[in-house]
Symmetry: C2
Subunit: 199 residues, 2 copies
């Protein structure tokens, strides 16, 4: 096997992995990670079960890959574009607006991927829970740090930044469920509450 | 078959149904309703699969019975005892305190049953989603009505009662996840936020 062939195979393998993991995240947003099985994904994507099994080995490895894919989408949709805004209240506002848009006009068919998976695995110790809880903690810490910068610049009222991040996360999480249930009145209520918290 | 025998069978059938449904709610609080299968419950409870199938027919019927069992526990633990308090802020406070206690010292092994199932089924139209969304709406309407009574008595600040119920529900839901993840700091934060909302 030449070096070029090996490279090509690696690239193809990585591309397939990414496609499969991204679809796994779509499925999990609707049905939870319980719905992410090798057989299910093989059927949906028209790939052989053995092909998926070669790339991911176990259902758990596939679930962990789905969590990483979900995280990448979140970073790409919310964090990266908001970092173009100047630090301070403009950036906090951009983060929250993009986060709400990601809930109300969802990228994943089942709405927020992380919310579904966190509720599904919060009571089940193991690598899946650790991965999704770690991802959630990273986001909370990032948001709290941006809130703190805005407070230091005098652009946001002084209060515990972690508590404010927790409170906004709770409201956005409830808005996600309301949106999935088609309850637009509660989504509007959530927006008003978040606006009040950022005043 | 005498009438007495029929009655006895009905009573035994009802008792078995209640035991099975209650266990289904325990399982669902940890693993979601995806974990509630006739085979799984038969194994856990040492009952034959055909016995459970005779009582419940389908997995969906079993899931709906679990939702009713979860609702009964919630009413029994939170609503019934709080109704002994005089209407007004004392009753609202009792409802919220019992609700928080139900989260921090959970009756179900996986914490709040409704929170798990709502996140699991919010994107999947059908009788299970309708049942759990209806149960959630009933609770929100009940809580908002009690908040309104307290406001009319001048014991709670005037603001939209539905919005306040939504906000408290969001915070308690986030506290439930934090508790299941063993994050006591966030549970304490949730308590402080709820106290502030009820001031």
């Amino acid at each position: 096997m030449t070096e070029a062939t090996t490279d090509q195979r690696l690239v193809k393998g990585a591309r397939s992995r990414a496609v499969i993991a991204r679809h796994a995240a779509d499925v999990a947003s609707v049905e939870g990670l319980a719905g992410v099985s090798i057989g299910r994904l093989a059927g949906d994507l028209g790939i052989s079960k053995s092909g998926i099994a070669t790339l991911f080995k176990t259902k758990e490895a596939l679930q962990l890959a789905a969590i990483r894919a979900g995280r990448e989408v979140f970073v790409e949709q919310i964090i990266t574009p908001s970092l173009r805004e100047p630090r301070g209240s403009a950036r906090v506002r951009a983060l929250i607006d993009r986060w709400l848009a990601y809930i109300t006009d969802p990228v994943f068919p089942g709405g927020c991927f992380r919310a579904t998976v966190l509720a599904e695995f919060d009571s089940r110790p193991g690598p899946v829970r650790d991965a999704v809880a770690g991802d959630h903690d990273d986001w909370m810490e990032f948001l709290a740090a941006e809130i703190r910068k805005a407070q230091e610049m005098g652009e946001l009222a002084e209060r515990d930044a972690e508590a404010l991040a927790f409170e906004i996360d709770a409201i956005v999480g409830a808005a996600n469920i309301a949106r999935q249930l088609g309850d637009e009145a509660r989504v509007a209520t959530a927006r008003q509450i978040v606006d009040r918290l950022l005043e």
